[in-house]
C-alpha cells in the first residue's frame, strides 16, 4: 500500500534559519530518516514557512490571497509518500519521522501517487487541495471517477509542470502519529478535523510564484474548496 505522510509543526515554533547549527541538526535528523527508510520513501518535499503561502479560492476570476488558507495551531511543513505493507508498517516508518516527536505525522492512504523527475533548475511549488468532503464521492463511486477525470484533464493541460500528484482517501481514514517521551500515540482521524480537508496535492514546477498561481487556478476544486500554494525548499 501507499501512504501520504503529512508532516506538521506547531505554528509558534521558531523558524530554523539555514546556516545555523540548529538548522543543520534538523536537516541531519531528516537525512538519517531518509537513509533508514530507504526504498520505502517514494517521494517527498520540505516546504517553506507557511507565511510564504498563497491561497487560491475558485471564482471568476479566482480569488488570490497572501497567506495560508487558515491559521491553525499546527502547520504543514512537508510530506513524504511512503510504501508500506499495511498501516502497522506505515506507523513504524512514521514514528521515525522527526516531526512525529516535535509535532505530528498524519498518515493517509493514497488512492493514487505519481511523480516524475523535476526539470533541473526550475523551482517547484506544492499545491494542497483543500476540499469539502463528500461522502458520496469516495473511491469506487461515479462521483469520484468524475473528479478523477477532471484531474486527468488538468494533468494533460499542465503537462511536464506536474512533478508529483497524490489523490487521498477521505480524512476519516487518516491516522495521526505522535511520539512523546518515546511512546507512540495514535489517534483516529486527521489533526485539523473539519472542513475543508486535504484531499490531494500536486507538486508543480513553475519559474516564479505568479506562474505557480496561474497553474493552481486551473486545478479542479469544488466551489467551497481552495488551493494553498507553498514553495518547496531544496537543500543543496
Amino acid at each position: 500500500m501507499q501512504y501520504l505522510a503529512i508532516l506538521r509543526y506547531a505554528s509558534d515554533v521558531e523558524e530554523l534559519v539555514p546556516g545555523t547549527p540548529e538548522f543543520d541538526a534538523d536537516l541531519a535528523r531528516y537525512e538519517r530518516f531518509n537513509e533508514a527508510a530507504g526504498d520505502a520513501v517514494l517521494g517527498g518535499a520540505a516546504l517553506d514557512h507557511s507565511r510564504t503561502a498563497v491561497t487560491v479560492r475558485p471564482g471568476d476570476p479566482p480569488l488570490v490571497t497572501a497567506g495560508p488558507f487558515a491559521e491553525t495551531t499546527e502547520v504543514i511543513g512537508g510530506f513524504y509518500a511512503l510504501e508500506a505493507a499495511d498501516l502497522d508498517a506505515a506507523v513504524e516508518l512514521a514514528r521515525r519521522i522527526p516531526s512525529a516527536e516535535d509535532g505530528s505525522v498524519e498518515l493517509r492512504p493514497l488512492v493514487q501517487w505519481e511523480q516524475r523527475v523535476p526539470p533541473a533548475g526550475t523551482p517547484t511549488w506544492l499545491t494542497l487541495l483543500l476540499e469539502v468532503e463528500d461522502d458520496a464521492a469516495v473511491p469506487g463511486t461515479a462521483a469520484w471517477d468524475a473528479g478523477a477525470e477532471a484531474h486527468g484533464r488538468f494533468g494533460e493541460e499542465a503537462g511536464d509542470a506536474v512533478v508529483a500528484g497524490a489523490a487521498l482517501h477521505p480524512s476519516a481514514t487518516a491516522t495521526t502519529v505522535r511520539v512523546r517521551d518515546g511512546e507512540v500515540l495514535l489517534t483516529d482521524g486527521a489533526v485539523a478535523g473539519g472542513t475543508p480537508a486535504v484531499g490531494g496535492l500536486y507538486q508543480l514546477a513553475a519559474p516564479d510564484r505568479d506562474a505557480a498561481v496561474a497553474l493552481a487556478t486551473r486545478i479542479p476544486i469544488g466551489p467551497q474548496g481552495a488551493v494553498e500554494i507553498r514553495p518547496v525548499v531544496t537543500f543543496d
Binding site: 476519516a172 495514535l186 483516529d188
Partner: protein, 411 residues
C-alpha cells in the same frame, strides 16, 4: 425465551469465530460480516423448524462462505470489476469447516487497533467478536441506532482503506497493543457494571459479554499476566452483581451487601484466574476485589492489605480515583480523619471535577466524623453530579439522614 431468541443466542455464541475465520480467508472484514449476517437471516428462517444444527459454528462458516463466494461471483459479472473480484477470490483448498481460535485473536486485535477511535473499537468488538446486532449495541450505550451503524460503517471503511492488518501483532508490538485490547474489554464491562445510565437487562448482557471476552482473551494470550488479571477482575466484580442492587432497584453498598448472594462460582473462577495474574494494574485491582470477595463481612475485611494494594496500584497506574479509593481503605484502618487528609490531596484534581465520586466520598467520611452540616453540603454537591438513579437515591437517603441528625443536634 422466544424461538428467535434461542436462535439468536445459539448463533451469537459461534458467530464471532466463524466471522474471524472468514475474514482471514477472504481478506475482507466487511464481506465476511455481510456473509455472516446473511447466514444469520437464513438461520432465523430455518433453525426454528429444523432445530439448531449439531455444530452451529461449522454451519455458519459454511453457509457464510458460500454466500461470500456468490457475492464475489456477482461482483465479477459487473463491468470493470472483474480484475478486482477475481483477485479477491479465495484460493483453492478445502472450505474452512472448523474455525481457528487464532482467527478470533486476529479479529480482536483488528477491532481494537489503536488507529481506531475508542468508541469505534468497542462497537466493532461487540458487533464482530461478540456477534451483537447493531440495535443491541445502540441500546447498551444509549445512542441512536443510526449513530452506531454509522460508527461501524466508518470503522470498517477505515480498516479496509487505511490497511489495518488482520493479524496478531508481532511479539515486539504486543506490549503496545495488548493494553488496548484489555482496555476495550474492560470498557465493555464497566459500561455494563458501573452503568452511567440505562436498562438493567441490557447491562447484564454487556457484563456477560465482557466476561466472555475476558475469558477468550486470557485463553488466547495465555502468556499475558494482565489478561488473566483482567479476567480475575471482571469475574470478581461481577460476582457481586446480584447483591449490589436492592429490591427497589436501589444501590446497595459493599458494606451493606448480603454476601450470601455473591456468586460463589464466579468468585472461585476469579480467584483461580488471579493465580496467573501479576502486579500490573488489572492484577492489582483483581487482588483488591479478591480481598473483598474472601472477607466474611465488612468489618473483618483485610483493610491494611487493601490499603497497601491501592498504594501499589497508585505507583503503577497513578490516578485520582485510585487515590480516592486508597483514602477510603486508609479510613478503615486509621480512621475517617486520616482518610479525609488523604482525600484532600486529590481534591483539586480536574479529572474528578465532573464526577460525584469526590464529594460523595468526602460526605461519607465527614458523616462518620459527625461533621453533619459539612457532610450535608458534600452530599448536595455529589447529588448535583451523580448520573444513575440508584446512586442518586442512595445519596438522597444519606443526605436525609445527616440533615435529620443535624436538626436533632441543633434542636
Amino acid at each position: 425465551m422466544t424461538e428467535a431468541q434461542v436462535v439468536e443466542r445459539a448463533f451469537r455464541a459461534e458467530a464471532g469465530r466463524a466471522l474471524a475465520t472468514l475474514a482471514r480467508r477472504l481478506g475482507d472484514l466487511s464481506l465476511a460480516e455481510d456473509a455472516v449476517q446473511d447466514a444469520f437471516v437464513l438461520a432465523l428462517a430455518t433453525w426454528p423448524a429444523r432445530g439448531v444444527p449439531r455444530s452451529p459454528g461449522a454451519w455458519i462458516t459454511t453457509v457464510a462462505h458460500h454466500r461470500a463466494l456468490d457475492h464475489l461471483r456477482r461482483e465479477a459479472r459487473r463491468p470493470g470489476r472483474e480484475e478486482e473480484a477475481v483477485r479477491d477470490l479465495p484460493g483453492p483448498g478445502p472450505p474452512p469447516w472448523s474455525p481457528v481460535a487464532d482467527d478470533q485473536l486476529r479479529l480482536l486485535f483488528t477491532c481494537c487497533h489503536p488507529a481506531l477511535a475508542p468508541e469505534a473499537r468497542v462497537a466493532l468488538t461487540l458487533r464482530l467478536v461478540c456477534g451483537l446486532q447493531t440495535p443491541q449495541i445502540a441500546r447498551a450505550f444509549l445512542v441512536p441506532v443510526p449513530t452506531v451503524a454509522q460508527r461501524l460503517v466508518r470503522a470498517k471503511a477505515k480498516v479496509r482503506a487505511a490497511g489495518i492488518p488482520f493479524r496478531v501483532p508481532p511479539a515486539e508490538l504486543l506490549p503496545e497493543r495488548v493494553p488496548g485490547v484489555l482496555a476495550c474489554v474492560y470498557l465493555v464491562f464497566t459500561e455494563g457494571y458501573a452503568a452511567t445510565a440505562g436498562d438493567d437487562l441490557v447491562r447484564r448482557e454487556l457484563c456477560d459479554e465482557a466476561v466472555r471476552l475476558a475469558r477468550l482473551t486470557a485463553e488466547l494470550l495465555p502468556g499475558e499476566a494482565e489478561a488473566h488479571g483482567l479476567l480475575a477482575l471482571v469475574l470478581l466484580q461481577d460476582s457481586r452483581r446480584a447483591a449490589r442492587v436492592g429490591p427497589g432497584g436501589g444501590l446497595v453498598l459493599l458494606e451493606d451487601q448480603d454476601r450470601s448472594r455473591w456468586d460463589a462460582a464466579r468468585i472461585a473462577a476469579g480467584l483461580d484466574a488471579l493465580t496467573r495474574a501479576s502486579t500490573g494494574p488489572y492484577g492489582l485491582q483483581a487482588a483488591i476485589a479478591a480481598a473483598h470477595a474472601t472477607a466474611p463481612d465488612w468489618a473483618s475485611t483485610d483493610w491494611p492489605r487493601i490499603a497497601a494494594l491501592y498504594g501499589a496500584l497508585a505507583r503503577v497506574a497513578p490516578s485520582p480515583v485510585v487515590e480516592l479509593n486508597r483514602a477510603v481503605a486508609v479510613s478503615q484502618t486509621q480512621g475517617a480523619a486520616a482518610g479525609l487528609a488523604l482525600l484532600e490531596r486529590v481534591a483539586g484534581d480536574p479529572r474528578l471535577a465532573r464526577t460525584h465520586l469526590l464529594p460523595a466520598t468526602r460526605a461519607d467520611l465527614l458523616r462518620r466524623l459527625g461533621r453533619r452540616p459539612e457532610a450535608a453540603a458534600a452530599y448536595r454537591a455529589a447529588l448535583a453530579l451523580v448520573g444513575t438513579a440508584p446512586e442518586r437515591a442512595f445519596l438522597q437517603r444519606r443526605l436525609a439522614t445527616v440533615a435529620h441528625d443535624a436538626r436533632l443536634a441543633s434542636g
